[in-house]
Amino acid sequence: MDQVNLSIDAVEIAATPGTTVLDAALGAGIYIPHLCHHPDLKPAGVCRLCMVEIAGRGTTPACLSPVEEGMVVRTESPEIRDLRRVAAELLILDHRPDCLVCAKNNRCELQRVAAHVGIDAARLARLRRHEKTLPVDDSNPFFTHDPQQCVLCGICVRTCNEIAGVNALDFAFRGFDTMVATFGNDPLVKSRCESCGECVVRCPVGALAAKDFQQPSREVKTICPYCGTGCGLLLGVRGNRIVGVRGDPDSSVNRGILCVKGRFGIDFVNHPDRLSTPLIRDPAGGSRFPGFREASWDEALGLAARSLAAIRNQYGPAAIMGISSSRGTNEESYLFQKFMRAVVGTNNVDNCARVCHSPSVTGLSAVFGSGAATNPLDDIEETEVLFLVGCSPTEAHPVIGMRIQRAIAGNGVRLIVADPRKTRLAQSADPWLPVRPGTNVALLNGLAHVILREGLHDERFIAARTEGFESFAEKVQAYAPDRVAAITGIPAGDIEAAARRYAQADRAMILYGLGVTEHSDGSLGVMGCANLALLTGNVGRKGTGVNPLRGQNNVQGACDMGALPNVLPGYQSLEDEAVRGKFEAAWNCKLPVHKGLKYTEAWHFVRRGRVRAAYIVGHNPALTDPYLQRVEEALAALDFLVVNELFLTKTARLAHVVLPAASFAEKEGTFINADRQVQRVRKAVDPPAGCKTDVDIICELADRMGYAMPARTAADLMDEIAAMVPLMAGIRYPRLEEHPLAWPCLDEKDCGSRMLYEKSFPRGRATFRAIDHAEPAEAPDASYPLILTTGRRLQHYNCGSMTRCTPGLSTLCPEERLEIHPQDAAGLNVREDEMVEVASRRGKIRVRARVTDRCSPGVVFLSFHFEEVPTNALTGDRLDPMACTPEYKVSAVRVAPVEGANVG
């Protein structure tokens, strides 16, 4: 683009058209005082300190003046100085002058303004100081709001609106009384604030300041350990301790933005409950954990190796199940599945994608031939219509949620949401489709029906790139809006409106989550989404596609690395002789031919005595798997269980040997996020004394079982992965130092593939899948009249082992509540905050009620973060037949107040 030439203070400057005089000056190193300007935000023009003189135009704020060719700007003159000085003096007089005890000391824009303008004590004295006396809000565990330090620049208000899309802050009152406040001037924790801290980062003064701020002495660039968004983090380190977190501004995923977990949820690394010595089960105890005694690494690894070898020798390798961690690195997952296959000799290796996104792999593979997100997350801003199915990104993938809200507000993106709950984004949707849990397939077929009926499908795309259209078209004939309305509970008119909106857009993008996959027909739901995209030609172009929002930080990677019972790393076929030969040669072993057990199946095999031992890395199925009574029984029945963990989780408490592992901040490696980007995870601090990384643990275990792993560092492992996995052949650590690479990345010149299927599909033509609605496994009835559906809370993550060891997060969300619609609550005589009993055919739990219309009538909601409220004691273990993923999202339950518990 052509540059615009202008002169600022007689310096000739070339600036990008569309930027402002202020941007141009700051970019050229000319400081113009300012308070309300922030590069991430639209100009506000309210502080009036950036006044400059533009020839022919007089005095005007630089932040509101776009650069023009030939513009002549003066940033200083006696008149300008007077204007700035009066404004700055008046501001400073309202501001408490306690810079030395201010968290923003030395990073304060008001100090900078004062230094530049030249504040004279004698001049200030003429005004005679007057301080506002306003209370400090320190309700939030992570930061304080001190209105007396506030300069009312509005950066926090605009950040909350433009960046976070939360709108928790606004101005209140007027004139001199103006202050930044929450709705009703409530404390922050009582407001809709989500504690993402973006306002704290941008506040130019000490009004919004992190509590217990410590300036780090160095920063380490890495990737967030929560959710599949894959945000870039800069861990602030002092000595060997993490003291703060900053969003990585260079990350294309989050561009410096973080959510509450990423910014404030890393404290678990420093938590005193971290395991630091191997533990061996011993009824006599002897450690700080009852039932365990401390052991040396040598003893613990020796016991594990001997026990696994003995079971293998006695019952065969198939008697051992391995579950890799979706939170660990790719290198660890690769090494773990290699351990199971080459050392133990079984394909019984899986990861916790089994209970979340396996249907994405089966469903998307069935349609496209490969099972991962088709488009980059950046396309959220490039699309016209976003269709969210069964996901609540503002809670489960908050930074993606923020990007969606920004895309709606800033780019005019239209939103359709199918979700049984009125989530934050459902409130911005047009239309919101409140689908009855378990009826996604009917809805998706219904949408296809309307698209076909109205001729809105893309005939050229269908003819050129797909197959199976006829049988699909015939199948959806039976899904007229009236029938679909009866099945799903969504008004027929809204189904039609959604179909038109999705199909008529030039670019429409589907994002879906566990609300699609965690059903007994989860794979079909995924195919239904992919069918819609094929039908409208929304594949292989910018701003389109079908994108699963992966649940855990590296659930994509754990699958890609082959921690799956049916495929080798990179989804290479177990049956293919050539592939097997390649691995057998490289690993110097004989590979088992038969597919292994999916771990949700494995529990049944334990009961039958066919699985006798398990090795679990960083996963807590005793809390997170459905029908956990059975899982617990199975785990307890194992002859031998070894667990690598950070904390003594419920699963670890059932183990015979617990091996203390290093956290994400204590090791090198890579994670793969929801849009297939391989990103570097870097060691920021040493693990606590006594901990080892999972790579070291697995290598040492293999050593003791007589197999010497040749690659024993993360970088060497990545080289081995590149050599063995064609999809990732071009991925090497030196390349990842520069920027992430998205697979497929076929050689060292390949820059990776942000978008898939531009020209062809892995299976040639994509295949429409004719699918039918089936009622969920468990329908509500007279005894269990409500549908329980489950999900995440913003402040917590999975089994809570990390977030619940971060004190502030527990302050914000201390306990689980059952969400129930006011109508149901009234009928059951359930009141807000009261203890209720929730019972299903499998179990019952006690929890307090939250009466809210976020849930539709007939549906109640619980998360599974809390060991005290084991939601999965209620859920059923009916599996999707293709992916073996359980139906977490539909369980029939009854709710009743607990007699006696609510007295007083």
């Binding site: 308070l35 100009p43 506000a44 023009g45 309210v46 502080c47 009036r48 300190l49 006044m51 007089g58 005095t59 005007t60 704020p61 509101l64 007077d82 204007l83 009066v86 404004a87 008046l90 501001l91 007089l93 309202d94 004295a125 003429r126 005004l127 005679r128 100081r129 007057h130 506002k132 300069v151 009312l152 606004d170 101005f171 009152f173 007027r174 004139g175 001199f176 009384d177 103006t178």
Partner: protein
Amino acid sequence: MPYEPVLLANINKKDSHTLAVYEAGGGYRTLKSALKDKSPGDILEVVKSSNLRGRGGAGFPTGLKWSFLPEKHPGPVYFCVNADESEPGTIVNRVQMEADPHQILEGIMLSCYATRAATAYIYLRYEYPLCLKRMQAAIDEAYAAGYLGKNILKSAFSLDLFIHRGAAAYVCGEETGLIESLEGKRAWPRIKPPFPAVEGLFRKPTVVNNIETVACVKHIVERGAAWFRSIGTPADPKDPRDPGSYGPKLYGLSGHVNRPGCYEAPLGITVRELIEEHGRGVWKGRKAKAVVPGGLSTGVMTAAELDTKLDFSGPLKVGCLGLGTACAIVLDETYSMVDFLHNSCRFFAHESCGQCTPCREGTSWSLMMLERIKAGRGRLKDLELLLEIGDTIGIIPGTTICGLADGAAWPIKNAIRKFRGEFEEYIKRTNPEGYMETEPVEAMATVPK
């Protein structure tokens, strides 16, 4: 020849606010003939050539404002009528709305026809309950009679008109503050450009006109541009940028006069004429000490400046901000200018919206200083400080988004510069020990509530 009122012609009739009386006096005939014989462009032309200037205070040419609407825009175009008459001392819109609401409605209809607006909002000051009642009754009558709604008088022109009652904030009289408030937001004036004609209410092209302006439109369409230009002060031939001050004007008069009220006269009568002829002179046989020419924000003139013409350029010549609302406030010779300025600062500190630093801080700090002066703790150097603040806040020095701060600054600048002796004498008398003080003294807690 005595001036024949046009805008106030109906107000003394019995039941002047009803449709029957308005129609009996020839009301809505202009609308009928315009919808039949004139195109929207014809009306725009006649308003342009009349040189009508907005009556709300700034005097921007109305026809020019309308012509800024983008021609090719798919619409909708909104028309907002500013009836948030909150300028201290100003009561003319109220008289019109209470006594002759249909005249305003006819003006709105013609203006909307000209600007192709199909939806109009009247932003009504909260404190005008009778106006609300009368205007709503008039709108209901107009709907019933087919003057509002779909296909008015069987023409292709449709118009819906709504009243939006404000919530007592002066800044809502600023056109973009008004728009924000109409949208349900905090009435923080917007940064311009874009101007409302391009991006206004709900981000669509919008015109905001004052009540009196739209009433003038009715008479211009009825009687022609030449008639309108035959009234008032002609353009200064030496100033090519002066569009003249034409047409009838409503003047308000309050303060220390014998007969306060709302009067109609050709634009350009002098302050003295207004006080002597319409107001029957200063009360109690006293002399005027100072006069606020057109609402508090226009500043103040001295007794020596009473021959200033009250047209769009007159008040500027004596250092006032402008004609403003043409509603004068008379202060007699016994009244303290310190009290005047204190009152003025109190008003603007209360009404500053809080958005721009210079206005939010400047209005409140000047009030705090006036409070101290009033409390006998003033210092001579406070006057310099007040002037320093007065000279640096507002659109004119370029430091604020809207003109509220200019309105706050002008009384400070005029009062202290024109009546400095009185201020100095007051400070010396009330603070004989400390008026020369230079050491810091505690401020007073005077944050306005």
